[in-house]
Amino acid sequence: MLSISQELVDKIVAHARADHPDEACGVIAGKDGVPERFIPMENAERSPTFYRFDSLEQLRVWREMDDRDEEPVVIYHSHTATEAYPSRTDISYASEPGAHYVLVSTRDEHEVEFRSYRILDGVVTEEEVRFLP
């Protein structure tokens, strides 16, 4: 289960809306599995169907997390025309076994889908999301 504050959820959704129709992506860093620090990342692909963290930005952010004893608790990205479910490429490139993979869909202008998954060795498991005040 992912427990995440409504404030962080709102930030992820705002980022996804702002970059629509391109996919938005980023990280929530934290300790002991608790998501705390919102880090929007540049989508180096600037694409409506693909995302990739900029490699130098990723190095900087991963080092910063290391220095602060944090981990990437949440890795999020948006789908802009399809449901908030991991695509085949999402599954094959998933490389942080400890992370909650959050998918947001902005295909509907008014309603937003916000779902979370574990992706381990090619296996996707959806998990419950608990929104904290």
């Binding site: 490699s55 190095l59 998933a94 942080e96």
Partner: protein, 90 residues
């Protein structure tokens, strides 16, 4: 002295859980061969068909080796090589 190689979580099963290991070599290619001799299996996760895998980022100090010389990039004692799987998807 040697070159420090920082290993991402997903590859630490090759390094007995170590976050960083030492290796030697004059180029990144030699360094990876040396790494392979100490931690068998790791090379295949980094290199495919003679070049770096597309979704693995390798950095020499603060630079992405793709912008330096790929596997031919010279490395020397005291350098730090960092491996990070690209975060990507569709």
């Amino acid at each position: 002295m040697a070159i420090e190689v920082r290993i991402p979580t997903i590859l630490r099963n090759y390094t007995d859980g170590a976050k960083a290991v030492n290796a030697e070599g004059a180029t990144l290619e030699e360094l990876i061969a040396n790494l392979e001799s100490r931690h068998p299996g790791i090379k295949e996760r980094l290199v495919d068909d003679g070049s770096l895998r597309r979704f693995v980022n390798v950095y020499l100090n603060d630079e992405d080796v793709r912008f330096l010389g790929g596997l031919g990039t010279p490395v020397s004692d005291g350098d730090t090589v960092t491996v990070l799987p690209a975060v990507a998807g569709g």
